[in-house]
């Protein structure tokens, strides 16, 4: 059993053990992903990030369509989709490298791409490959015809924020988004708030509930297309940072969602797992996939703050000793490097754990990795596409997922994801704090970028569960798990 305790007591970090298990081609892919982001940063992000940030501060309803189109032209919205569904087939691990590089320049623009894949991950975690195939087809078509097709994830509600992050909390919350069974699908009524990319997305993966009093047992996950009757976009939140990525309100008024767009609905137990169990696993998996992403973006932002601080410390000023030659400044710069490295280690450990032990671990096995790399797209589509979309495909995936649960491996990667997320985001804030102190009044001037990094980074301590909730998740998953007399969320 690969419990968290055994990971902690193992003298070898996952990274070392992973080196022996991961295909060598993956390293090349990871480097390529980082290089793609670096080029995007140099050509698009750095020249535009500040201007977009300022424009949105002046015109809060402005949407950065041009940036989305630039990312779309470069294939960033499909690169990490399964090859069997027309995507680039890149591994989620390479996305860590991509996200980190992007975050060194702008977290908001990083999130324009990252949150799209959270929506994709949510559908993937339902193992409903029929809906996934349809989404992927639209995304790939959108890249070909120049009309970006993004996916948003709509879970948070006006009176239920943190409650939505854990199935143990949701029944005590006050969810209001009702999904009523109707002929040929569902009718959705309610509102979702703080939805990243809501105003820019073509598809929205929405959670609704057939019984508002028992949401954990009655969750429905629906794919809603922009323009559907009864669906409307509400306001865009005015927020502290990450302005390039709009946080939207989505409204549903008897919005009909056809059965073909239902990703998951209440039903009989699958392989012995109740609907509630399946939902709990799904929530945990999606968060365990996204939290290492938040952590690596924090590492990237911490590096961005460091870079600007170092630049300032190396700037000569007449009649004054170079700041970088003061011992106290050297010590602070070293501290910033430490924070970057610790964040990177945490994020990669969590990402590797998910890659090696998560529900899609088979994709990182040498045989499947190379098979998917070498197979022509048409063959991959024909063979794997059909296999995954077959009902037995879902059943097998659920059974495999349950195996992870029985072995306790899901608790380990969930815990490590939380640990990485809260550690790295706290360290990123710390780097911004140090950068501002090194830079003085230069630091608070927007043109020097650090103040934007601080504003952007603060959100990393909040989304994908506040850092406070993530600490509790770490306790729940491994420290308090199975300990007699210990419970979580029950004080």
């Amino acid at each position: 059993m690969a419990s968290f305790d055994s990971i902690l007591s193992d003298t070898l970090p996952l990274g070392i053990r992973a080196a022996a298990r991961l295909p060598k081609g993956l390293l090349k892919e990871i480097r390529h992903a980082a290089a793609l982001a670096k080029a995007f940063n140099e050509e698009v992000v750095r020249p535009q990030a500040l201007a977009v940030d300022h424009r949105i501060m002046d015109e809060p309803d402005f949407l950065p369509h041009q940036l989305v189109r630039e990312a779309n032209e470069r294939g960033f919205y499909s690169l990490w989709l399964p090859k069997a569904f027309g995507g680039g087939g890149y591994s989620a691990l390479s996305m860590l490298a991509f996200s980190q590089e992007l975050a060194t320049e702008c977290l908001g623009i990083g999130n324009l791409i990252g949150s799209h894949y959270v929506g994709v991950a949510l559908v993937s975690a339902t193992f409903n490959f029929t809906v996934l195939r349809r989404l992927c087809a639209d995304i790939v078509a959108g890249e070909k015809n120049g009309t970006p097709c993004l996916v948003s994830t709509a879970i948070t509600e006006p009176d239920a924020g943190t409650d939505m992050e854990d199935v143990d909390l949701i029944d005590r919350g006050h969810v209001q988004c009702r999904a009523e069974k109707a002929a040929g699908g569902y009718r959705l009524t309610g509102s979702k708030i703080f939805i990243s990319n809501g105003h820019l997305s073509s598809w929205h993966i929405v959670t609704g509930y057939t019984d508002l009093a028992r949401p954990s047992e009655s969750s429905v996950i629906l794919a809603v297309k922009t323009g559907s009757p009864g669906f409307s976009l509400g306001r865009i939140e005015r927020k502290l940072g990450q302005n390039a990525c709009p946080a939207s309100v989505l409204n549903f008024d008897q919005c009909f969602v056809p059965a073909s767009c239902v990703c998951l609905e209440p039903g009989p137990a699958v392989a012995g797992a109740s609907h509630r169990d399946l939902c709990a696993m799904l929530v945990d998996d999606v968060l365990a996939m996204s939290r290492p992403g938040v952590a690596i973006m924090a590492a990237g932002a911490a590096r961005g703050a460091y870079r600007e601080a170092l630049r300032h410390c190396l700037r000569p000023q007449p009649g004054v000793t170079l700041l970088a030659n003061h011992e106290w400044a050297q010590s602070l710069l070293a501290e910033m490097q430490k924070n970057i490295k610790l964040s990177e280690y945490c994020a990669w450990e969590a990402g590797l754990h998910m890659a090696l032990d998560g529900p899609f671990r088979m994709l990182n096995g040498r045989f499947v990795f190379w098979l998917l790399k070498l197979l022509p797209v048409s063959v991959a589509k024909l063979f794997f596409g059909a296999l995954m979309a077959h009902p037995s495909g879902r059943l097998n995936m659920v059974k495999d997922r349950l195996k992870l649960k029985h072995e306790g491996r899901d608790r380990s990667y969930s815990a490590l994801g939380s640990l990485a997320k809260f550690s790295a985001s706290d360290l990123a804030i710390e780097n911004c704090r140090i950068a501002l102190r090194l830079m003085g009044q230069s630091g608070f001037r927007s043109e020097n970028r650090v103040e934007k990094i601080l504003r952007d980074v603060k959100l990393l301590q909040i989304y994908e569960g506040t850092n406070q909730l993530n600490r509790l998740n770490l306790f729940k998953q491994v420290i308090g798990h199975g300990v007699s007399g210990v419970s979580v969320f029950n004080e």
Partner: protein, 322 residues
């Protein structure tokens, strides 16, 4: 003007809710007499009380007043006779003694100045700026003011870069002024940090008592009340320290300058941590402009630089007091 009168004034101001824009609020402060040079004669306790109240309401107003008072205080300490009807511009975020980027040439009782000073707070219709120990007219062809720069916080109070080219100013004091001015303005800077902290704490407590998660008010979750307790204790400790050192300063007790410098740095650092936690209590709501927490967070990180770079002030502290 007595301290009691000053407190009455701030109460009057806080009751005037008609003014909406920063300019209108600033004008109201002027009408109430807050920019009178005579206010600088007040005890430090009274000035701090005013700034703390104002900062809790809107830190930009407090900083505007702080910068004017700092400039006026510099002139007063130097016994330089200058009475302006307008607020004075002042580079409040720069080390007071910093002059290395200015070329100066004393000539016939005037000083010809060339150079650029960044992020000067331009309060109201300022006609003069106090830069280090120079009084500089802002009118005339030799001074250029930039458009307001975009900043992290204190956004409604314009920060401009002043470029001087052979500008005729006045060296109104010797370098000995700097330590005196630092001492005098350290506690007002601390009061602004404390005011921002207080309003962040107040909003966090209010929200925690009304917002429900997990079926109960979030203040009932022990992780939340523990954080609120921590914030409250930090604030109370800061308030006690400020009050004590203000009393020391007003009484002229030996060593108050040391304690003032220490209190200012500690409270400015504290405000950054406390306002960050203040957002955290509100979660996503705290990140939006719908609540005041994001502004307080920005303002706290911004105003930590009042009186200059924090590490430089620590170095100065070590040199003077250790």
């Amino acid at each position: 003007m007595e301290s009691g009168l000053l407190i009455q004034l701030i109460e009057k101001f806080s009751k005037r809710r008609g003014e909406r824009s920063f300019g209108e609020k600033l004008k109201a402060l002027q009408e109430l007499g807050f920019f009178q040079a005579a206010l600088c004669e007040q005890g430090i306790s009274a000035l701090c009380l005013v700034l703390q109240e104002l900062a809790a309401f809107d830190a930009a107003l407090a900083v505007a007043l702080f910068s004017h008072w700092a400039a006026a205080q510099a002139l007063r300490l130097a016994r330089f006779d200058f009475n302006s009807e307008s607020p004075l511009a002042f580079p409040a975020f720069r080390n007071i003694s910093e002059t290395q980027d200015l070329q100066t040439n004393d000539r016939d009782g005037r000083c010809i100045i060339t150079g650029k000073v960044e992020s000067v707070l331009l309060t109201g219709q300022a006609t003069h700026a106090v830069i280090a120990n120079f009084l500089v007219p802002l009118t005339g062809g030799t001074v250029t003011l930039s458009a307001p720069v975009r900043t992290l916080g204190i956004r409604s109070c314009p920060h401009v870069d002043i470029s001087m080219s052979q500008t005729s100013g006045v060296r109104f004091a010797s370098d000995e002024l700097f330590d005196q001015l630092h001492d005098r303005m350290a506690l007002p800077a601390a009061a602004i940090a404390l005011g921002i902290s207080r309003s962040s704490l107040d909003e966090a407590v209010l929200y925690a008592k009304t917002r429900k998660q997990g079926g109960k008010e979030i203040i009932k979750w022990s992780e939340v009340w523990m954080l609120l307790s921590q914030m409250t204790m930090q604030f109370r400790t800061g308030a006690a320290a400020l009050s004590r050192v203000c009393a020391q300063a007003d009484a002229g007790e030996a060593g108050w300058e040391r304690d003032a410098a220490a209190t200012a740095v500690c409270l400015q650092e504290l405000a950054c941590a406390l306002t960050s936690d203040g957002i955290q209590i509100l979660g996503g709501a705290g990140y939006t402009t719908e609540f005041g927490q994001e502004k307080r967070f920005r303002d706290a990180f911004h105003t930590q630089h009042l009186l200059g770079l924090l590490p430089s002030r620590k170095r100065r502290f070590a040199a003077r007091f250790i």
